[in-house]
Symmetry: C2
């Protein structure tokens, strides 16, 4: 057996425990590298997108467009980049444009994928994509689901970067998105420098 | 109503749907800011810790001690910092020391908390802590659960930082931990500079 094969488990069977609208919960039986049988839980979720909208405020300061909303898991109000689930059959980039428009009323002339990682490979199977959105135009009202209540704000990039990981900026998925953005900026600075 | 109050939902009742060893699944009924009633799913999980072990290899290169393991959610092998769940009643720092020892056989003379964020406030209620561990000593064998198979490696910090967010380094929780580390390094450089 090669070294890597000593780590891999093989799935024997799975059964669904619950369908929960935003994910399905499965129990999966697997066989370990040394033949032992174990049972594991899987959150089978649609892929997610986060979109980082870049624009300049009336003073010429570089800003992110951030949404302020109540989060049901943490029971807290957070500041986040617009984000959401990808609909079935929808391209990630389409989902990014759709969520941006729904949550803020802005459209973007340039949406670029800058990251794709596993939300949590321990017990989830979905990918979390990050996009940047530039060339923004405000075309009108938010178009929210009836259970969504979202405010949005232009906040200087420096302020968001400084606060990320603290207080109301503690959504892990947003930290992942910002890390993709900072990586993308660095690579971009090198290639254009 | 103040602006923030226009976002907050109030819990009416909750019922447990599944107990899943690493988390419990609840369905929660809540009332919206404008009096509408909605139903939401909550993953009630123990808090998690990630520990970033810092040491120097025999050539004097700054390295992270990384674990290589199979992940049941993504069905992939990943490179990660040692990490795990906090046991009931256990202090986060104790959990960090325990997981480091169990997964790698190393103890640490200095474990410092450098971050605490929400894993995913949309549908989870737990905190993900990040620690650094210095002054490391190898004291012996790993002490793994019978369903854990983990290899560990000393990998240069520069390599981990470069690869984080790509390929086998795509665990979102590790990206969060590395962001905490980079923030901590920056603050530390400023305060000692």
């Amino acid at each position: 057996m090669k070294d890597k094969e000593k780590l891999i488990w093989i799935e024997n069977s799975r059964r669904i425990l619950n369908k929960c609208r935003i994910f399905d919960l499965y129990q999966i039986e697997k066989t370990s590298p040394n033949g032992e049988v174990g049972s594991f839980y899987l959150i089978d979720a649609p892929d997610w997108i986060t979109v980082i909208p870049l624009l300049t405020d009336e003073k010429g300061i570089d800003c992110f467009l951030m949404v302020e909303q109540y989060r049901h898991g943490s029971d807290e109000i957070t500041y986040e980049f617009p984000a959401g689930m990808i609909d079935e059959g929808e391209l990630p980039v389409k989902a990014a444009k759709r969520e941006l428009l729904e949550e803020t009323g802005y459209t973007s002339g340039e949406v670029i994928e800058i990251g794709a990682v596993s939300s949590n490979p321990a017990f989830m199977n979905n990918i979390s994509y990050t996009f940047i959105a530039r060339d923004l135009s405000f075309i009108g009202e938010q178009n929210l689901d009836k259970d969504e209540f979202i405010h949005f704000h232009l906040i200087p990039c420096t302020e968001v970067i400084e606060k990320m990981g603290t207080g109301s900026y503690s959504n892990g998925i947003m930290i992942i998105a910002l890390a993709s953005y900072q990586r993308w900026k660095e690579i971009n600075a090198i290639s254009s420098g």
